[in-house]
């Protein structure tokens, strides 16, 4: 029974950790889109070759200053 004196604080620690982890997830938008990831996992299997980085095309006559 004495092992409880170690296990109980340990379980409380884990509990606090779990709550913290969940709160972190909520704050980081992890609960905002619950539909997308379910589909997304089906996609990313094997692209023949990773797409190359390419420069963006500027739309015609862009003369506004950049930030």
């Amino acid at each position: 029974m004495t092992s409880l004196y170690l296990l109980i604080p340990l379980s409380l620690l884990l509990l606090a950790l779990a709550v913290w982890a969940f709160f972190w997830a909520v704050n980081n938008d992890q609960f905002d889109d619950l539909d997308g990831p379910a589909h997304r996992i089906l996609f990313d299997d094997d692209l023949a070759e990773p797409p190359k980085r390419r420069p963006g095309k500027a739309p015609a006559e862009r003369d506004e200053p950049r930030p």
Binding site: L4, L15, V26, D32, G36, P50, R53, P59, R62
Partner: protein, 812 residues
């Protein structure tokens, strides 16, 4: 019929030169727009998109006028509104249109991530939003918008309004409360099990006290944080001298908690921490499920009005300013193809405007100086100088959207009924509990407290309170998923009882897209030649009529010097000859009459004497929707009568009715006649669903038991309709009716179940046969049964995504 466009599924014009090569096989495409998008996708190495997609891609919009709007987003003042600086880069959230399935999210992310300067991107599939971060030194926002347009998606900066931000904050708070309750409950029950399992002497006094103190410690945050909303709402209700379902909840939680704390401090008596934690968790869980089924994104205002405007200042300069900065009396320039940024009066210029945002009418209307323009409408032909009268929140379109919000804020009749019921129910419940408590004080004062507590907990009318809302919320979400948006709270219930569907217009069964039904050459011009010439001229027009001629476009034949005459027609030069195409009076300068009923256009050629001689007649007709026949047949198979009430001429209505197998129809019906007909049907006990485009028939729509407006444009009339069909597919009406019936069935089951449960549990608890923990479990289970039953609606009659075999390809 030839193979449909590989990208968007539209019919491909004969001899069209546009193709995309996939796995060595050339696939036909219907237009240069689709070709550009398909090539951008494949050249980016993202052709797997076509393998992943479960819905056809939308046809890309003509975007030559858009490039200018995008460059406005580079303007520092406008950027400040939606671009948020981060440590080494900047980020923004965009609302993206045309996302049809998960493959779109994949395509967008991969396409953008391959772009130099993009540091991260994530698509939220639920709310159709894109979060993107980029290096401002390499990329300008306009380039991102251009890249999205290149693969066929239209994006605008997303700015959540206050209501939406609050809704999101509340949703997150609920998740946090739920998590605390869940974790607390698990651990409290863990500490309670030894107390239940161990015999009276097996557990030492030390451990007994320890477990009690631990339970107290863990339950306190559950009560103080997770259960807080119940206490607050209960106090609120009592302050207004009302009894809601939260009152007994707060009462039982408060009583049980104080009694348990008292027991722990005194070292004797029963503790109910496990019951408290479980009760809280299950209540919150039901609420969470209910809230999730109800959540829907909204960014409608910023979608309706453009973000930037071109302001004409007094010094004669044109300045790009955020549309939200416009004030009444400012003068703005609206270029052809651009969207009007605010309500106003035309000072200079004459042009056609498409006001479908407001009216649902896709045919442009002509406006002259002194005429009013409405923010959100699209300018078709000529530049206009407009003096602003109402901008931003004051604009017409904003008030329309307010209307929609108000409609969705109304509670359905059943929910109001449930509220009223809850008040009486709770009152009786509290009286019964009081009687039980008094009785037990005489029978056995030791057991009086927990029996009272059990009665209070077990009879909590949560299941009853959840019975209707969960079913309705799930029904609404599931309908929305299928493209039917309910705007009036009672509409779902009314849909379930429908016995007759009345199509209000021929236009509801057709696509609103013109096609060429007949060509009648006059004189030497051959039929195909006449069509080609007309197609070449109309290729320069964005008028809906132009789409009728698109299939006959001959790439070698081009018209030049095209002049648009608003509401009249077009004139152009082809092979050195001057042609006109449009209304008879315009094309031939002559009172020539069309050869028959219907909508006719005249093509004419300028002769040597300068007069235009008629060349050919074209009759235009609306295209029947692909699934119109199926829909009518399915409705009839469900035992629902189908009727067509149209204001159109007799001949086309009769033909349409015969084609679709509609036995009851009426042509040339005025709105008064339509309303009278509906009232006659209702007098016979029929319940009528009116399907219309909802524009000029507001009284008719209002007269029906339930009304459904077609097509996705947001407009005033649609907000009067009880439901909107956002999907272009008519068969969704059948699905909506089936789902409404299923929802009603589930709602009745739920109410029956919760009444039966309470009827059974109350006497058992009053007799002292139910300990509090069992009461908490029973109450929670009854609520979960109700929620679970409602969730069954999610598994509708058909799957979410349907694969499209005709457009599906496998890699070699």
């Amino acid at each position: 019929m030839t193979e449909p466009c590989y990208h968007c599924g539209a019919p491909v014009p004969a001899g069209a030169p546009w193709t995309i090569t996939l796995d060595g096989a050339a696939k036909p495409l219907c237009c240069p727009g689709c070709e550009a998008v398909a090539h951008a996708i494949v050249e980016g190495g993202l052709e797997s998109y076509y393998r992943y997609r479960t819905e056809l891609s939308p046809r890309p919009a003509d975007d030559h006028a858009k490039a200018e709007t995008w460059s406005a987003f580079d303007h520092p003042e406008l950027q400040a509104q939606f671009v948020h600086p981060r440590e080494s880069d900047v980020s923004a959230t965009l609302a993206v249109e045309n996302i049809t399935c998960a493959a779109c999210a994949w395509l967008i992310e991969h396409h953008l991530n391959a772009l130099e300067g993009v540091t991260g991107s994530a698509v939220n599939l639920t709310e159709h939003r894109l979060w993107i971060s980029w290096d401002p030194a390499i990329l300008a926002p306009s380039q991102i918008f251009a890249e999205l347009a290149a693969i066929g998606y239209e994006a605008i900066p997303f700015e959540p309004d206050r209501a939406l931000a609050r809704q999101q904050r509340e949703a997150r708070m609920l998740v946090r409360r739920l998590i605390v309750a869940a974790v607390g409950m698990m651990q409290v029950v863990m500490f309670s099990i030894p107390l239940y399992v161990a015999g009276p002497t097996e557990l030492g006094d030390n451990f007994f006290a320890l477990f009690h103190w631990l339970s107290l410690m863990l339950t306190t945050p559950v009560v103080a944080f997770s259960a807080w909303p119940f206490f607050r709402t209960a106090a609120n209700a009592l302050a207004h001298r009302r009894l809601t379902m939260e009152v007994p909840v707060a009462l039982s939680l408060g009583l049980a908690y104080s009694a348990s704390v008292y027991a722990v401090l005194n070292g004797q008596g029963d503790v109910y921490f496990d019951s408290i934690a479980m009760f809280t968790f299950f209540l919150l869980f039901s609420r969470y499920i209910e809230a999730r089924t109800r959540r829907a994104g909204g960014n409608a205002l910023s979608r309706a009005l453009p973000a930037a405007a071109l302001r004409l200042d007094d010094d004669g300069a044109q300045r790009v300013v955020p549309a939200s900065h416009l004030r009444p009396d400012a003068r703005i320039l609206v270029k052809p193809g651009a969207t009007v940024p605010a309500d106003g009066i035309i000072e200079q210029g004459e042009s056609s405007l498409i006001e479908s945002m407001l009216t649902g009418e896709f045919l442009p209307v002509t406006r002259r100086p002194g005429g009013r323009v409405i923010g959100g409408s699209q300018n078709v032909e000529n530049a206009l100088t407009v003096r602003v009268t109402h901008a931003g929140r004051e604009s017409t379109i904003a008030s329309v959207l307010d209307l929609t919000d108000r409609a969705s804020a109304n509670r359905p009749r059943l929910a109001r009924l449930a509220d009223a019921m809850a008040h009486r129910f709770v009152l009786r419940l509290l009286l019964v509990t009081l009687c039980v408590a008094t009785a037990w004080l005489f029978i056995d004062p030791d057991r009086a407290f927990w029996v009272t507590l059990s009665v209070l907990v077990v009879t909590c009318p949560c299941a009853l309170a959840l019975a209707a809302p969960t079913a309705l919320a799930t029904g609404h979400t599931e309908l929305y998923r299928r493209g039917v948006l309910i705007t009036r709270a009672d509409a779902l219930e009314a849909l379930a009882g429908v016995t007759r569907v009345v199509f209000d217009k021929t236009g509801t069964l057709t696509r609103g897209e013109m096609h060429l039904a007949a060509t009648q050459p006059l004189g030497a011009l051959s039929e195909p030649r006449a069509r080609q010439i007309a197609a070449a001229i109309e290729a320069h027009s964005e008028h809906p009529i132009a789409s009728a001629f698109r299939p006959f476009l001959e790439p070698a034949l081009t018209a030049c010097d095209v002049v648009r005459h608003p509401s009249q027609g077009l004139s152009a030069t082809l092979d050195g000859e001057r042609w006109r195409l449009g209304r008879a009076a315009f094309a031939a300068n002559d009172a020539i009459t069309p050869p028959g009923p219907g909508q006719w256009l005249l093509l004419s050629r300028q002769g040597a004497d300068g007069a235009f001689a008629p060349g050919a007649w074209f009759r235009l007709e609306d295209t029947l929707r692909d699934d119109a026949a199926d829909t009518v047949a399915n409705l009839q198979a469900l035992g629902i009568d189908v009727e067509l009430l149209s204001g159109d001429e007799r001949a086309p209505v009769e033909e349409l009715a015969n084609t679709l197998g509609i036995a009851t129809w009426q042509a040339r019906a005025t709105p008064e006649e339509k309303l009278a007909r509906i009232q006659a049907l209702q007098a016979d006990g029929e319940r009528v669903l009116m399907v219309g485009d909802g524009i000029n028939d507001v009284p008719v729509l209002a007269g029906a038991n339930v009304s459904l407006a077609m097509n996705g444009a947001i407009d005033l009339a649609q907000t009067r309709a009880d439901a909107l069909l956002l999907s272009p597919r008519l068969t969704r009406i059948v699905e909506a009716l089936l789902l409404a019936r299923a929802t009603r069935r589930v709602m009745r089951q739920n109410i029956a179940w919760s009444v039966a449960y309470n009827g059974l549990a109350l006497p058992l608890a009053a007799l002292g046969l139910v300990p509090p923990w069992l009461a908490a479990l029973g109450m929670s289970l009854s609520s979960l049964v109700v929620v679970g039953n409602a969730l069954r609606l999610k598994r509708g009659p058909r799957g979410k995504c349907q694969h499209l075999p005709a457009h599906h390809w496998e890699p070699a």
